[in-house]
Point group: C2
Chain length 161, copies 2
């Protein structure tokens, strides 16, 4: 979580422990249904992402992975890419960070509002996808995946300035 200012950021998206438990259960169910294995390192990685109240860096996951000492990078990077493929998390390209998917249907594509002040993110549906595809189609480009990340100030942080 990166703060670009000094004021307190008491507004947070932190999930309460029982809400996290619900998400962890749901993730396990999702994997089961998909015939994939929600192993312990994958679950631990997902848990740490849920515990963060903002996009979290891979190395922060690595550092927090074990109570005593860090995980090895490949352990966590493998889990991250699995979770991303399952649609359980998203990678934020402009932050090199990861955040839990916030939608029910675990789409593999989403837009993000990234607060430059408190570091929190908000997941949004990408507006006007057909227009973007149409714009691309002008030169015959066929879109497979859209990355949309808007930086700015969340409502709470505007108030604090």
């Amino acid at each position: 979580m990166s703060h670009s200012c000094e004021h307190t950021h008491d507004h947070d998206h932190h999930l309460k422990p029982d809400a996290r438990a619900v998400r962890l259960e749901a993730a396990q169910a999702l994997c089961l249904e998909a015939g994939e294995r929600m192993t312990s390192s994958r679950l631990r990685t997902y848990e740490l992402i849920l515990e963060a109240n903002a996009p979290i860096k891979a190395y922060d996951v690595i550092d927090r992975f074990h109570p005593d000492g860090a995980a090895k990078p490949p352990t966590v990077y493998r889990a991250l890419s699995f979770l991303e493929q399952m649609g359980l998390i998203h990678r934020i390209e402009s932050l090199n960070a990861f955040v839990a998917c916030d939608t029910h249907d675990h789409k593999h594509t989403a837009g993000f509002l990234l607060c430059e002040c408190c570091g929190q993110s908000e997941e949004i549906a990408i507006p006007n996808v057909p227009e973007i595809e149409a714009s691309a189609a002008k030169t015959g480009f066929k879109v497979n995946h859209i990355t949309l990340e808007a930086r700015g100030l969340c409502n709470a942080c505007q108030a604090s300035h």
Copy 2:
């Protein structure tokens, strides 16, 4: 330039030497007008980005900087951030790479179509910015900057498949 397939990519955006010269001149004029100094490392960095026919990595610039041996990373990273501030180049977040700005007015924001096959990029105006801002405004979020990067296949690469 990263190829995900084996067919030839003979379609390219390569600027001819004289077109590059025009761009270099224009960049110098732009800096002059802005009261900024287009120094030799900045110019060399810009030149290498113009010579690439696709988004280029920082370390590729570093490697090509001198005829004999590489530049030091800070030299190039400083130039890149200067050029980006001037609107002469754009950073592609999802590639960790840089591309010359292709518009006349050197806006600091643009969208990109990124071909997963030939690695080339195409700069587009971000469609429907007001809709994106409106979507953000639903929760009071104020957008400062939009990153839009669409991966897919360019026209030429679709034809080759």
